[in-house]
C-alpha cells in the first residue's frame, strides 16, 4: 500500500490552539453552542496527543476554570451552559444537555478532578430534560428540540455517572426504536429519513444503556444496520450521510464509529477511508467536510477521531511509519480511551 499523504499535525495543532484563543466573527452562530466548539478544539489537541505537552499547566487550568464558570445550578438541577451568552439570573440561562456532555468530556481531557461536580444535581438536571415520550429536550421542561442528540447526551452522562436511576431508560429505548427506518439507519425523530449522524447516536445509545429484558438489537436489525452503514462508503472512500448524497468527513466519523460499536469495523475499506480524510486537510490548518473546502473545528475534530479509529488498522507503510498513529479511541463516548478511563474514575459519585 502506498503511504498516505502526510498528516499535518503541527498545522492542525496550531489551528485548534488559535480557535481557543479567538473565533472569527463569521462564527457568530456558534455563540449558543460555544462549549461544543471548545470540546472540538481541546479534543483535537487530545487526539493529536499534544494536550499535555504542547500547552502549559496555566493554560489548562484557565480552560478548566472557564468551563466551570458555565456550570449553573437551579431548581432543575445542575449542568453546563453553552457559554456566557445569556448571563442573566432570569431562568433563561439554564444548562443545556448537549453542552453538559461536551463539558464533562472536555474536563476529562484536561484531567479535572471533578471535585466541584454535584452528582445528584446533575442526575436531576438530566431527568428534568426527559419528555413523556421517552425523548430528551435541550433544556429542562421540554425546552428546545427533542431529537436523538439530546437522548445520546443524556445516556452518555448517565453512563459516565454510573447511575441510571433518575431517568426512564425503557421509554427512551422505545423512542430510539421509533426512529429506526426501513433502510436500517435511524432518523433524527420518529418517521424521519435515515441519517449517518443520528444512526450513530441511536446505536451508541443502545449500547450505552444498561442491559434490558431483550437484546437492544435483533440479529436481523443488526445485519440491516451494518448493511446500510457499509453502503454509506462512497467511491471516494468517504462516508455519505444519507443514501445518494455526497460524502462528508463528519460522516466518516458517525458511520465509522457506529460500525466500530457494532464490531463491524473490519468490513469497510479503511485505506480509502483514511485517504479521503487525508484529502480533507486544509492547507492552513484544520480539516474540512470535503476536499477543497474550508476547515472548521467540528469537521477537524470528527475527521481526526475517524482517522483515530481506522488509520491504526493499516499497514505500517501506509501509515507513513507513525504519521497516522493515534492512541486507542472510545467510539461509544467519543474520546480517547485514556480520557474515558479518567472520566469513569472521576465522574461517578465516590462510594464510602
Amino acid at each position: 500500500m502506498n503511504p498516505l499523504p502526510p498528516l499535518a499535525r503541527s498545522v492542525h495543532t496550531a489551528y485548534a490552539k488559535n480557535a481557543l484563543v479567538r473565533l472569527p466573527g463569521s462564527l457568530g452562530n456558534v455563540d449558543a453552542s460555544r462549549m461544543a466548539i471548545v470540546f472540538y478544539c481541546i479534543g483535537t489537541l487530545d487526539l493529536l496527543g499534544v494536550l499535555q505537552d504542547q500547552t502549559t499547566e496555566m493554560e489548562r487550568l484557565s480552560w478548566r476554570n472557564w468551563i466551570w464558570e458555565q456550570y449553573a445550578a437551579g431548581r432543575y438541577g445542575t449542568g453546563f451552559k453553552p457559554g456566557p451568552f445569556m448571563s442573566t439570573n432570569s431562568g433563561h440561562d439554564t444548562p443545556h444537555i448537549i453542552m453538559t456532555y461536551t463539558a464533562l468530556l472536555s474536563l476529562s481531557m484536561l484531567r479535572d478532578d471533578f471535585s466541584r461536580l454535584n452528582r445528584q444535581g446533575l442526575l436531576r438536571f438530566v431527568a428534568s430534560c426527559q419528555n413523556s415520550n421517552g425523548s430528551f429536550s435541550n433544556t429542562p421542561n421540554g425546552g428546545g428540540d427533542s431529537d436523538l442528540r439530546n437522548l445520546y447526551s443524556a445516556f452518555s452522562i448517565c453512563s459516565l455517572l454510573g447511575d441510571w436511576s433518575s431517568i426512564d431508560v425503557e421509554s427512551a429505548i422505545a423512542f430510539v426504536a421509533s426512529c429506526r427506518t426501513y433502510e436500517g439507519g435511524y432518523g433524527q425523530l420518529p418517521s424521519c429519513e435515515a441519517q449517518g449522524g443520528t444512526t450513530y447516536l441511536a446505536i451508541a445509545a443502545l449500547h450505552l444503556a444498561p442491559p434490558g429484558p431483550r437484546p437492544r438489537l435483533s440479529t436481523a436489525e443488526r445485519a440491516r444496520s451494518e448493511h446500510w452503514l457499509v453502503h454509506s462508503q462512497d467511491a471516494s472512500g468517504g462516508f455519505r450521510g444519507r443514501t445518494g448524497k455526497a460524502p462528508d468527513a463528519c460522516y466518516c466519523f458517525w458511520g465509522g464509529a457506529a460500525l466500530q460499536i457494532l464490531s463491524a469495523h473490519d468490513k469497510i475499506n479503511a485505506y480509502a477511508f483514511t485517504e479521503f480524510i487525508a484529502a480533507c486537510q486544509f492547507p492552513y490548518g484544520g480539516l474540512a467536510k470535503a476536499p477543497g473546502q474550508p476547515s472548521d473545528p467540528h469537521h477537524t475534530y470528527l475527521s481526526l477521531a475517524a482517522a483515530a479509529m481506522y488509520a491504526p488498522r493499516l499497514d505500517m507503510s501506509a501509515r507513513g511509519y507513525g504519521q497516522w498513529d493515534f492512541a486507542p479511541f472510545n467510539p461509544l463516548l467519543n474520546a480517547r480511551e485514556d480520557t474515558i478511563r479518567w472520566a469513569r474514575s472521576h465522574i461517578p459519585a465516590r462510594r464510602f
Binding site: 481557543l20 479567538r22 466548539i37 432570569s90 425546552g143 426501513y182 444519507r242 445518494g244 475499506n269 480509502a272
Partner: protein, 333 residues
C-alpha cells in the same frame, strides 16, 4: 454600490433608554471567544437586559427578531420571543408570515423549525394546508433538506387529517419526477404508504403492496443504479414479510451484462433495463445473492459466486464486506 448604513445602536436610541443593558460577563481568560460585531454585542446586551427585567412587549418582538437575524441559532432569543408572543396574544398569522421568510433564509437552523412547530400547535388545523403548500415551495429550492422533510412528516402526523393526507402521494410523485434519486422522497413515500399515512379504507394491503412493487420496478427500469429504489424495494418486502424471491424474475436481467432480448413485447410485471443501462447493476447482483441465500442449501454456492463477483469486480470498495458475507454463509452451510 450604495453602502448599507450601520444600524443605530440600541444604546443610542431614546426609546430604549429605560432598559438597563447587561454586557456579557466573562472573567479574564475567555475560552474560544467570538469576535462579535458591534451590532450583535449591542443587540444582545439589550436582550439580556430585557430578559433580566422580564419585559414582554412589542419592542421585545423587534429586538428578538433582530438578534435572530444576526444569529438564528440563538435559542434563548427564540424562546423568549415565543413567550412574549403568548403574553401579548399576538397575531400568529403575522408571526407565521415572518417565519416563512426566516425559514427560507435559515433553512438549516434547528430553531427556525422548532419555533414554527410551536406556532402550528397553537394555530390548530386551519393553518395546516397552507403549511404543506409552504413546505412544498421550500422543498423546490432545496429538494433534500432534512429539516424541511422532517417538518412535513411532523405536520402530517401531528394533524393526522384525512384531507391533508389525501394529496400526499401525488406530492411524492411530483417530487420523484424531478429526481428519482432523491432518497428523501423515497423515504417519504414509505412513510405515507406504510406508516403514519395508512388511512381507513386501505385495508386491502395486498393491492397496495402490489402497486408499490410495480412502482419501484418501473423506477429501477428507468434508472437501474439507484440505491434509493433498491432500498425501498427491500423495505417493502421486509415490512410486509414477503420473501426476497418475490421479485426474483424481475432482478435477473439486471445482474448480467447483456440481458436476453425481450421477445414478446414489454412485460409489465417485470420491466427490464432500458437501452444504455449500465449493467450488471451491483445492487441487483447483491439482491439476487440474498435471494439465493434465503433459499438456502444448494443455492448458497450460487450466492457465494455472486458475492465473489462483487468483491472482485462490481463493488470492490466493499470487498471486505462481501468476503465476510461469504464466510458467514459458509459457516452456516
Amino acid at each position: 454600490m450604495i453602502p448599507v448604513p450601520a444600524p443605530v445602536l440600541y444604546a443610542a436610541r431614546d426609546e430604549w433608554k429605560d432598559v438597563v443593558p447587561i454586557t456579557q460577563y466573562e472573567k479574564a481568560n475567555p475560552l474560544a471567544p467570538i469576535l462579535y460585531s458591534e451590532e450583535y454585542k449591542d443587540a444582545t446586551d439589550y436582550l439580556r437586559g430585557i430578559v433580566q427585567a422580564g419585559e414582554k412587549s412589542e419592542r421585545v418582538l423587534q429586538l428578538t427578531e433582530h438578534v435572530i437575524r444576526l444569529n438564528p441559532a440563538h435559542y434563548s432569543a427564540w424562546q423568549y420571543r415565543y413567550e412574549t408572543l403568548l403574553a401579548l396574544e399576538s397575531s400568529l398569522e403575522a408571526e407565521v408570515a415572518l417565519m416563512d421568510e426566516l425559514a427560507d433564509k435559515y433553512l438549516k437552523t434547528y430553531q427556525v423549525w422548532h419555533h414554527r412547530r410551536l406556532l402550528l400547535i397553537r394555530a390548530g388545523l386551519p393553518g395546516a394546508p397552507a403549511e404543506l403548500a409552504f413546505i412544498a415551495k421550500i422543498l423546490r429550492q432545496d429538494e433534500k433538506n432534512y429539516h424541511t422533510w422532517a417538518h412535513r412528516q411532523w405536520v402530517l402526523a401531528f394533524y393526522n387529517d384525512d384531507g391533508l393526507w389525501a394529496g400526499e402521494l401525488d406530492f411524492v410523485d411530483t417530487m420523484m419526477n424531478k429526481d428519482v434519486r432523491n432518497n428523501s422522497v423515497w423515504h417519504h413515500r414509505f412513510f405515507v404508504v406504510f406508516q403514519a399515512g395508512v388511512r381507513q379504507g386501505e385495508e386491502d394491503r395486498e393491492r397496495i403492496v402490489r402497486r408499490e412493487i410495480i412502482y419501484v420496478k418501473q423506477n429501477i427500469s428507468l434508472a437501474p443504479n439507484n440505491a434509493s429504489a433498491w432500498n425501498y424495494l427491500r423495505g417493502v418486502l421486509e415490512f410486509n414479510k414477503l420473501p426476497l424471491s418475490t421479485v426474483g424474475p424481475f432482478i435477473r436481467p439486471y445482474t448480467v451484462s447483456l440481458p436476453d432480448p425481450v421477445d414478446d413485447g414489454i412485460d409489465l410485471e417485470n420491466p427490464g433495463p432500458g437501452r444504455g443501462a449500465e449493467l450488471p447493476c451491483a445492487a441487483a447482483v447483491e439482491f439476487l445473492a440474498d435471494v439465493y441465500e434465503e433459499e438456502g442449501k444448494a443455492s448458497v454456492s450460487k450466492a457465494v459466486e455472486l458475492w465473489k463477483s462483487l468483491a472482485e469486480e462490481h463493488d470492490t470498495m466493499r470487498k471486505k464486506y462481501w468476503e465476510y458475507r461469504i464466510q458467514q454463509a459458509l459457516v452456516r452451510a
